[in-house]
Structures are given as structure tokens and as C-alpha cells.
Amino acid sequence: MRTPESGPEPLIFELSHAGRVARAQLPPAAKGSATVPPALRRRTPPRLPEVSELQAVRHYTRLSQLNFSIDTEFYPLGSCTMKYNPRGSNQYAMLSGFLARHPFAPEVLGQGLLACLFELQDMLCAVTGMRAVSLTPMAGAQGEFAGVAMIRRYHRDRGDAARDEIIVPDAAHGTNPATATMCGMRAVEIATNADGDIDLDALRKAVSARTAGIMLTNPSTLGVFERHIGEVAAIVHEAGGLLYYDGANLNAILGTVRPGDMGFDVMHMNLHKTFSTPHGGGGPGAGAVGVGERLAPYLPVPVVGREGSRYRWLTEQDLPQSIGRLSGFMGNTGVLLRAYVYMRMIGRDGMRRVGEHATLNANYLLARLRAEGFDAAYPTRRATHEFCLTLKRQARELGATAMDFAKRLLDLGCHAPTTYFPLLVPECLLIEPTETEAKETLDAFVAAMARCLAEARADVELLKQAPHDLPVRRLDDVRAAKSLDLRWTPAA
């Protein structure tokens, strides 16, 4: 990684030189006429950089070197499942036959792609215990949207339109309540008890004839398994609501427990987490949705179907009760292919091993960090694939917050864990090592955390001022939001 000594990388616009053109990329001249009526014509060219191909390549290569990534650093970002993204998944999804395929090309010229997607649907049903899957949602949040929209439609079709409340635990990811709003529902938050389980009395009080459903992830975002899931399902179902499973934490229970067997009616899977497609600096993800019997007619289209030995897209004609389309085409197809390749390489037995070793790594890390003097947020509980530390003691006694530890870890070559989430754990670090990390890497992280603690005792400013060795020091977020600078403009 590049450091402060490397000097800042200028903006691409500052490298621009009027009239410079990457000639190899110009298209051959076309024969046909090309004119635009004067009133509709662009008068001044857009301010795009004018650089050589090499200048562009060098600039973006140098920028890439300013990033932490899984390929370069340990990245224990809780709830994000930053595991190794196999290069094979990328290479085989980017075969020219797949890349060249137009989304509206005839199905006879797409049987290879459709076979992969059909088998992916089947495999996702098998690992989740759901009856049917639609692959179209383009991220976890869109999967959530699809799920809640299906719940809404289900109640309306039964003449039960008064059900307009979605229950979410206070520890839930922000997308859950935001999704409820986006679907025209009201989010109702319920409390978590001291052990990290849902407060069942609060749940009993929250359900009513207005309950459309509950959104849960299990294990929860607190990194513990919700032990009373059977009672939760019974309470919500008896009240007439449905259960939505947020697949953010599916990696923990892969091959061990299936959401369908826990009583969930609908769920999404984050293929970019559990099935190891890349996070790409903020996407693309894929948020396939799975449903049980009751919601199967409502799945978003298109879905891949099979007739004899031929595959075809099922559309609104085949699924007339579908909630409709969530994308212009078929979702993030290339991401789906990467997940397919990954699942085939992991295979039947590998699924269970993924969940086991993710859990092993998290529990090992937790045990070692506790031995070094850190506090588990839920000390009586097993870790799942991730766990919460609470640094409130360090904050109180040493003046070093969770954020200070996170920033100092960057200096020590580790990406920071998720900080200050879930909100109900004070001074929280949510740590998810994933199964693809070797014991040596976990030991190095423990050593880095121990060093931070020792430094906090000796000279807390070392942490308060961190990071010291990155391309920039702590940034002024207040200034960023107050004096907005969201685009480059040429100096006057």
C-alpha cells in the first residue's frame, strides 16, 4: 500500500492536457449520416479528462494502491463476511461467451447461462430450506424490499390490508426499518434482552392485527444465535404475521441450520457475503430471495424455469401474481455466475465446513482477545461467525474509544472491524474473521489488538491521533458535510 511518503495522487482532471487523445480507442469512421438538430445539440463538451491510456492506467493503478482489500489485508468487518473471493469465480464468470450475451438475446442462444442460473436457484433452495428462489434482486437491501413487498401483497390478496407494521429488533441492520418504509409499512422496534436474545414479552406486546411480519437475522447482528426462534415464529404466526429472514449472517449456519426449518416464510441471501462474490468497493452484490409455499406466487420476475431439457425465463405471464420487476433485465447476472462457481467448488460437504470453520475462527479470536483483556459484549454466549467486543472499560479507564482502536489497527495492517454497530452495544467492535483466514492471521490480529491496548495504557494519544502511516490522517467529516465539495471544477 502507498503511504504518506508516496505523496498525494492528483485528480485525473489535474493530469488532463487539452487535445490529448487515446487514439487506439477511437472507433473507425462510420458511413451513415450522423446529425443532431441544432436545438438538441450539445454546445460545450463535457469536462472529461484528456489523458493518454498510460496516464489513465497509472493513475487508477496508483489509486487502487491506496485501498485496503481482502487481497492485501485481513478485513474482519463484522456483518460483511469479507472472505476470500476466489479468482476462479471471476475468471469463469467473465468468459467471453457470457460477457457478450445481450440480455434480450433469444433463449436458444442462452441455454448455458440459464442452466447455471437454474441450478443456482435449486442449490439456494437446498441450503436454505426454501421452496423457490428468484435471483433478480441486485443487493441485500433489494432482496429485503422484494421480501417485504411479497408479504404486503400476500396480506392484501387475503383482504387483510390493515397489516401495515413490520417488527424489527433494535439490533437490526438499518436496511430493515428503511425497507419497511420503502414498502409503505411502519417499522416497530422491539428490545433485546441482556443475553442478546429477543425480549419475548416485548414481542408479545408488539404483535397485533396490524402485524404484517417480523424481520430477523439469526444469528443476530450481536453475533449470537437467537435461541428462542421457535417461540418467536409461533408468536408471530399466531398473530397472523410472516417471518422474514435477513440472510446477512447466513455464513454462520451454512450447512447446519436452514432458515426454512426455523419457521421463516421468506428470506434473502447476500451472495456477495455467504457465496463469496466480491464486494467491489461497494457492490455489485446480489440479494436472491427465497420463499416458502405461501409466497411462491409472488416472487419477482424473471425466474428461470425448465421444460424438459430446455430452460426459459418465466415472466409476468407465468407468474401473474408476481410483485413484478426490480431491474431492467435479470438482476446482477455476472454476480450470480460467480456465486454458482463458488458453490460448485465448495460442494455438499464444503457448505457445512464453511459454517463450522467461520464459527471456529470467531470463537478462537474471541477466546484469545478475552485472554488479552478485552470484554465480550455477551460473555455467557458462544460466538457465532462473529462477535461483539465492548470497549467501554477502555474508553472509561484509558480514554481510548472503539474508534481509536479501529484507526490504530489500520496502522498495524489490519482493516478495522465494524465500529459502533449494533448501536445498543456501547463502544462496540463487531468482528468477523471468516473461515478463509489462517490461524496465523488471527494470531497476528490478536497481537495487534494487544499492542493497541498496551499503547493506550502508555500513551493514549498514539491511538487518539491514529492512523499515522496511511495516505491521509483522520478526515474532517463535519467540514465534508457542511462545506460540500462533491465534484471537481476547474480553477477560475
Binding site: 472529461l48 472472505k83 476466489p86 461467451g97 441455454q111 426455523m262 464486494h279 467491489g280 467448488m345 463450522e356
Partner: protein, 455 residues
């Protein structure tokens, strides 16, 4: 044990440190009744070599037909450097830049992208991407309702000349919040949004008007008149644009007297392969006054403790991880990697390269229309266009397209289902990647098919 590095000895040592005797014991909080057995629906593991063979066979089976399809996804040449850099591990395998100091590469790239998209569309600010063009239209409709505080109708007018699948997507998403999206008819002679369809809504409370330029038929709408009409009604204007076309066409920020208010589009033409429909990315730009109503990530430039320039996610008070139920959208993960590709693509092409690509597309399409005209297809709408055209055929498109597919040609997009009133109407496209030889091959194949006995 694919991608799991543990040796048996590692596992033993780790279990000892944890203080358990078996892997099984780590799951002792999970009720036994919930455990699943062997996953019978999953086949046994394949090695990389084996899955590579299978995928290569499947990719090859799909062939690589000669493509004259557009309809929202366009085959452009992508400089080799674009994906060589985009798939570097430092871009490919990092996540949303929450830790700004460790993500300056991604953050600066997004800032440069925002700058390019703002200038290309003639608007003040851009976000860091949405999922795709169709879902971006839905987000724009929801945003217009939030941004237009005086309008109480939550009514967004959507011309039928907007891509039919985009309309369906916007409806699927927006109907949950009870938005009304009435459709506007188009003029049968010109293929443009009909003035009398607008007149029916004059004087009523309209939140926004959507204008797609070029429209689904590839035609250039009278954007100045439409924009001024909407503003005169007190409505916002949502522009849906093709980014390549903006090298030639007036940017939405300059439409009419005041310019469009929200601009969205499908970013795929900017360096993203067709790839069977995704991943692509949606872009969105707007006026500064609406920035707090925008969905999605936004990157800002600021300074660090030493006063040195740096980049960070900003205006996060709009977003779900802070605002939860009151967020502008539930979007979290967006399409970051595609934005990286688009930024590199735009940098390599530059203003003159993009303009030459756009002109070549327009020219190739004219050449195609002329050649297919000689093969017996009729140009349906004669007006100015970008790089697509509607042709009518003397028999059902379905049979023609099937016959063309048999010869390795994707002949176009069948408009019959969504526009039955146009008869056997086919939407065709030629980008800069089609040569005169390609066009001649299509022309000869079509002439043979159209001159055959009718089925």
C-alpha cells in the same frame, strides 16, 4: 476443503484455546431439532479445473451471435485496460469505504466519477450509483415526491415512450408507497410524446414528468418544450438519458429555460459488458438544492488533521445506517465496481473519444436502417434519432427473429407485446462495434427471410 486453510493440528489447537472438545460443541446453543442433515440438493465439490471445464463448455454453447439488439443495453468496445485495472484485488475485494483513511483509492475514484457524471449531464451533483437504470427511475420518482414539498398528489407522469421494462420496474417499486404513475400516449406519426396527452393533465397537481432522451424508439424528444411545460405546471422534470448520447446531445441541465431537476440513466454503455443483463449501474445527478433527498452514497472532498486533502462518505444522515426508517432509501451496497470501470472508461475515451463513439453509433444505425430498408423493412418513424430505430416487417417479428437466430444474428427487440398498435415492429441498434460487413450480413439474411413465403 476449498478455501479453508486449517490443518487438523490447527483445529485441535484452536478448540483447546476455546476450551471445547469438538467442533460440534461450538453449536451447542442451537436446538438439536433445528439441525439439518446432509444437504442432498447440493452436488459434491468440483476442483477449479473441473468447474472451469464446465463453465467453458456452457459459455461456448451460448455462442457469440452478431448483435443488433439495444433496448437499454448496448454493445460497445471496452478498452482492455478498463477491466484489467477494475479487477485488481484492491478495487475488486474491498468494501464500501467506511474507513476513509484505508479507502482513499475507492473514494477518490468515486469523487472523480461524480465529477464526470455531473458534467456529462449538466447537473450540480451526482451520487455514487444505484443498481441499474430501471430501478434508478423508481428511486427518482420517490425522490421527486420527497423533494417537491408543495405537490400533494404523488403523481409522476410517465410517457409510453419510456422503456416498457423501466416503467414496469418503477411501478413495482413505487406502488408500495402509493405513487400514481399515469402513462402518457405518444403521437402515432412521430413516435414522440403527444402534446394532447400532456394537455389532459394541464392545471392539475403533478409531482413530476419523466422525459426519456432518446426515447425507447431511439427518437429525440422535444426536451426543451416538454421541460418548460412541466415547469409551467409546477412539476419537477426527471430526465432519463443514455450517457453515450450526451457527448452529442444537449445535457439535461440545459433543457428548456431551467433545466431538468433529477437525471437518471443506465450506466452500462460506459465500459460495462453486456454480461446477460448485469451487473450494470444506475446513475443519478441532481441540483444542489435536492442533494439531501438523494438516495445512495455520496463522496465529498475534505481535509485531514494536517489540512491535507482527502475524501470521505458524506451526507450520511440521509442513509439507512444512520436514519433507519427515515432514510431516503434502503439502498446500502450499490454498484461500486461498475463505477470504477465507468470512471476508467471515461478517462481513457475523454470528451473527443466519447463524441466519436456516439457519432459512430449514430452513423452505423443510419447505415443499418438504409440497408434493412432495401431488405424490405419499413422505417416506422422518420424523425431525428440517436442509435436505434423502429422498423416494421411484413410478418411477425417472432418468426423473423427466430430465423435470424438460426443464422447467428440477434436481429433486434420485438416491440409487439408492449406496442401492439405498431404492428410487426422491431427495434434495431448498431453501435460503433458493427462494421459495414456486419450490416451487409444482416441485410442479406433479412432480405431472404422477408421475401420468403409467409408462414
Amino acid at each position: 476443503m476449498a478455501f479453508i486453510p486449517h490443518t487438523a493440528d490447527d483445529v485441535r489447537q484452536m478448540l483447546t484455546v476455546i476450551g471445547v472438545s469438538s467442533m460440534e460443541q461450538l453449536f451447542d446453543e442451537i436446538p438439536e431439532s433445528l439441525r439439518c442433515g446432509v444437504l442432498t440438493g447440493i452436488p459434491p465439490a468440483l476442483s477449479e479445473q473441473e468447474i472451469g471445464r464446465l463453465m467453458s463448455e456452457r459459455a461456448a454453447a451460448d455462442g457469440q451471435p452478431l448483435n443488433f439488439l439495444g433496448a437499454g443495453a448496448y454493445e460497445h468496445h471496452i478498452p482492455a485496460a478498463v477491466w484489467a485495472i477494475t479487477t485488481r484485488g484492491e478495487y475488486y475485494s474491498c468494501y464500501t469505504p467506511y474507513q476513509a483513511e484505508a479507502s482513499q483509492g475507492t473514494l477518490q475514484t468515486i469523487y472523480e466519477y461524480q465529477s464526470m457524471m455531473a458534467s456529462l449531464t449538466g447537473m450540480a451533483v451526482a451520487n455514487a450509483s444505484l443498481y441499474d437504470g430501471a430501478s434508478a427511475l423508481a428511486e427518482a420518482c420517490l425522490m421527486a415526491v420527497r423533494a417537491h414539498r408543495r405537490s400533494k398528489s404523488a403523481c409522476v407522469l410517465v410517457p409510453r415512450t419510456v422503456h416498457p421494462l423501466w416503467r414496469r420496474c418503477a411501478r413495482a417499486i413505487c406502488s408500495n408507497q402509493e405513487l400514481k404513475l399515469p402513462e402518457l400516449a405518444y403521437d402515432r406519426a412521430s413516435g414522440l410524446t403527444a402534446v394532447n396527452a400532456l394537455a389532459a393533465h394541464a392545471g392539475s397537481d403533478i409531482t413530476a414528468l419523466v422525459i426519456q432522451q432518446p426515447n425507447v424508439f431511439g427518437l429525440l424528444e422535444p426536451v426543451d418544450e416538454l421541460t418548460d411545460w412541466a415547469h409551467a405546471q409546477g412539476a419537477l422534470v426527471i430526465a432519463a438519458v443514455n450517457p453515450t448520447s450526451l457527448a452529442l446531445l444537449k445535457p439535461p441541465g440545459e433543457w428548456g429555460q431551467k433545466g431538468a431537476d433529477i437525471v437518471i440513466g443506465e450506466g452500462q454503455p460506459l465500459g460495462v459488458p453486456l454480461a446477460g443483463g448485469g451487473p450494470y449501474f444506475g446513475f443519478m445527478t441532481t441540483r444542489l438544492e435536492h442533494v439531501r433527498q438523494m438516495p445512495g452514497r455520496i463522496v465529498g472532498r475534505t481535509v485531514d488533521l494536517d489540512g491535507k486533502a482527502g475524501f470521505t462518505l458524506t451526507l450520511q444522515a440521509r442513509e439507512q445506517h444512520i436514519r433507519r426508517a427515515k432514510a431516503t432509501s434502503n439502498i446500502c451496497t450499490n454498484q461500486g465496481l461498475l463505477v470504477t470501470a465507468a470512471t476508467i472508461y471515461l478517462s481513457i475515451l475523454g470528451p473527443s473519444g466519447l463524441e466519436q463513439v456516439a457519432s459512430a453509433c449514430q452513423g452505423r444505425t443510419s447505415e443499418l436502417v438504409e440497408r434493412l430498408g432495401r431488405a424490405g423493412a419499413q422505417l416506422r418513424f422518420p424523425g431525428a434519432r440517436f442509435h436505434e430505430a423502429v422498423l416494421t416487417l411484413n410478418r411477425p417479428c417472432e418468426t423473423v427473429l427466430a430465423a435470424l437466430a438460426g443464422q447467428g444474428i440477434c436481429g433486434g427487440y420485438d416491440l409487439t407485446e408492449d406496442y401492439p398498435e405498431l404492428g410487426h415492429a422491431l427495434l434495431v441498434c448498431a453501435t460503433e462495434t458493427r462494421t459495414s460487413e456486419d450490416i451487409e450480413r444482416y441485410g442479406q439474411a433479412l432480405a431472404r427471410i422477408l421475401s420468403g413465403d409467409r408462414p
